[in-house]
């Protein structure tokens, strides 16, 4: 069913009883041309673009839980393309452009809100660093604006400008950046992929990868063996586990990242605001809740729940940036498992096994990358050749000395 204003009107008149489910619940077929492991945003987007752009429709997406149960439903919904390094910025800008057309593309309301992302600076040195980053963005054709203190005060009056330790001197603004409704992104891609013939199979966990003569022949799952021509892994926090089934050596460690939402408030925060004195970012959802998060908990974990010390630290950062936050009550918190790579940048590449492809290492920047990651992964699977903007994200870049270390902290995943 194609969604339109007319379909809403017609279904309202029939008591909303005739809406069809958005995707089928197919039984797995014995064999697919391509199997994608992981029904998160990236896996579903890859399946969608494989079917739509690259003409490979005999595709299955295997998800061990329900759709959207992983990181695609656990992030803080921020989309942006304000990276500095030449290996990253073209890719994220490609993603930003796909975001801008995504609702028309999918015929689905992903509630993209280009409200602007502003990253605050608190010292002259940090200002210089943001000017450099802004210039790097302009070099790739992406608009960035430096907002000085007085102008910022008019724009966002409620910040703690005169904090003794971290006075707010201004910020770097990307106006095209913003937020999107994360669940809708997963559902929209699932529906789009399904409409192009992709089988989206939920509650089907891969337990082993079957190989014959150096090639993958299929996967053992909780719903039986499924054969495949090509196997693509998009398993996020569990990439190491799935990779191990094919003896892949991956430069990943899994960490837990928490996010929080407060009680609903009247509209008060118009942008996404990123604190420069620590690691803290906040925006307001359409329901009014303030959605915020910080850095990962420092220890490796697969638990999908965080530690109170980190929660306290994140909220301290928030209150030091916006003192009024201390009056707001937190409604709930949740956590997801991040596949932290050794340089903080992702991997979208072939593997030593001919027909096995890997998409992993998104750290905690995976949501904004969803459309481009899916597109580039589909390109790689279909043509056996990397998409130009994803070419730097090679699996062997560490051995070859081409790490893309945006934070500049070296191979220490819990610091990225």
């Amino acid at each position: 069913m194609r969604y339109s204003a007319f379909s809403i009107f017609r279904n309202a008149l029939s008591g909303n009883l005739t809406w069809k489910s958005q995707w089928r619940k197919p039984e797995p077929k014995p064999h697919y041309d391509v199997i994608i492991v992981g029904g998160g945003g990236h896996g579903l987007a890859a399946a969608y673009y494989l079917a739509k752009e690259f003409g490979i429709r005999n595709v299955a997406v295997l998800e061990k839980g329900y759709l959207g149960s992983g990181n695609v439903g656990r992030n803080t919904t921020i989309v942006r393309s304000n990276y500095m390094l030449a290996g990253n910025e073209p890719f994220y800008e490609f993603s930003m452009k796909l975001w801008e057309g995504l609702e028309q593309e999918l015929n689905y309301n992903v509630m993209l809100s280009q409200r602007g992302v502003i990253m605050l600076y608190h010292s002259d040195g940090q200002r210089d660093a943001y000017i450099r980053r802004g210039n790097a963005m302009w070099m790739e054709g992406v608009a960035a604006e430096l907002i000085e203190r007085d102008a910022l005060k008019k724009m966002i009056p409620f910040l703690n400008y005169d904090n003794a330790r971290y006075p707010i001197l201004g910020g770097l603004l990307q106006r095209r950046a913003g937020t999107a409704r994360h669940d809708a992104v997963a559902w929209g891609y699932a529906r789009g992929a399904d409409r192009h013939g992709v089988d989206v199979i939920e509650h089907c966990e891969v337990t082993a990868i079957r190989r014959d003569g150096g090639r993958v022949t299929g996967v053992e799952t909780t719903r039986g063996f499924i054969g495949c021509g090509k196997l693509a892994l998009a398993a996020a926090g569990n990439s190491s586990q799935v990779g191990q089934m094919a003896d892949l050596k991956l430069p990943l460690e899994s960490y837990v990242l928490q996010a929080f939402v407060t009680e609903g408030l009247k509209p008060c925060i118009d942008h996404v605001i990123v604190y420069g004195g620590g690691h803290f970012y906040i925006s307001q959802s359409d329901k009014g809740g303030l959605v915020f998060g910080g850095a990962i908990d420092g220890y490796s974990s697969y638990a999908q729940r965080g530690n109170l010390a980190t929660a306290e630290h994140v909220m301290e950062e928030g209150v030091s940036m916006i003192p009024g936050l201390s009056r707001v009550r937190v409604l709930r918190s949740w956590a997801g498992i991040m596949d932290m790579s050794m340089d903080g940048s992702p991997i979208v590449d072939r593997t030593p096994i001919d027909n096995l492809y890997v998409n992993a290492g998104w750290c905690y920047g995976g949501f904004k990358a969803t459309p481009a990651s899916g597109y580039c992964f589909a390109h790689l699977i279909a043509r056996n050749d990397a998409h130009p903007v994803a070419r730097p994200f090679r699996l062997d870049r560490f051995a070859r000395g081409y790490a893309i270390d945006e934070a500049g902290v070296g191979p220490q995943p819990n610091l990225h």
Partner: protein, 92 residues
């Protein structure tokens, strides 16, 4: 996450006193070992889902490097041993 770590030198302490360095199961290769051995040591991780060994430095205590045996799925702490003691015991 178990929020208390039993340091063999300082006793039961909150985990915020510790700095986490990472995987303790890796063995440093010989200086002239192959590039591949060094690459694997620096970049490749087993990333276990379950029991794991990590270096935790007791930064706000004895400042010793400890090896914490921990479950990454349940966050249960199984053992905490001084890194040097463990290295001697395992003949590293």
């Amino acid at each position: 996450m178990a929020s208390l770590i039993t340091c063999p030198h300082c006793g039961v302490r909150p985990k915020e006193e510790f700095t986490i360095r990472g995987d303790a199961s890796l063995m440093r290769p010989a200086p002239m070992a192959s590039e591949e051995a060094w690459h694997d040591y620096v970049y490749v991780r087993a990333n276990p889902r379950g029991r794991s060994f990590e270096h935790w430095q007791h930064a706000a205590g004895c400042r010793r490097f400890l090896v914490v045996e921990r479950d990454t799925l349940t966050h249960e702490v199984h053992s905490v041993t001084d890194g040097a003691v463990l290295a001697t015991r395992s003949g590293r």
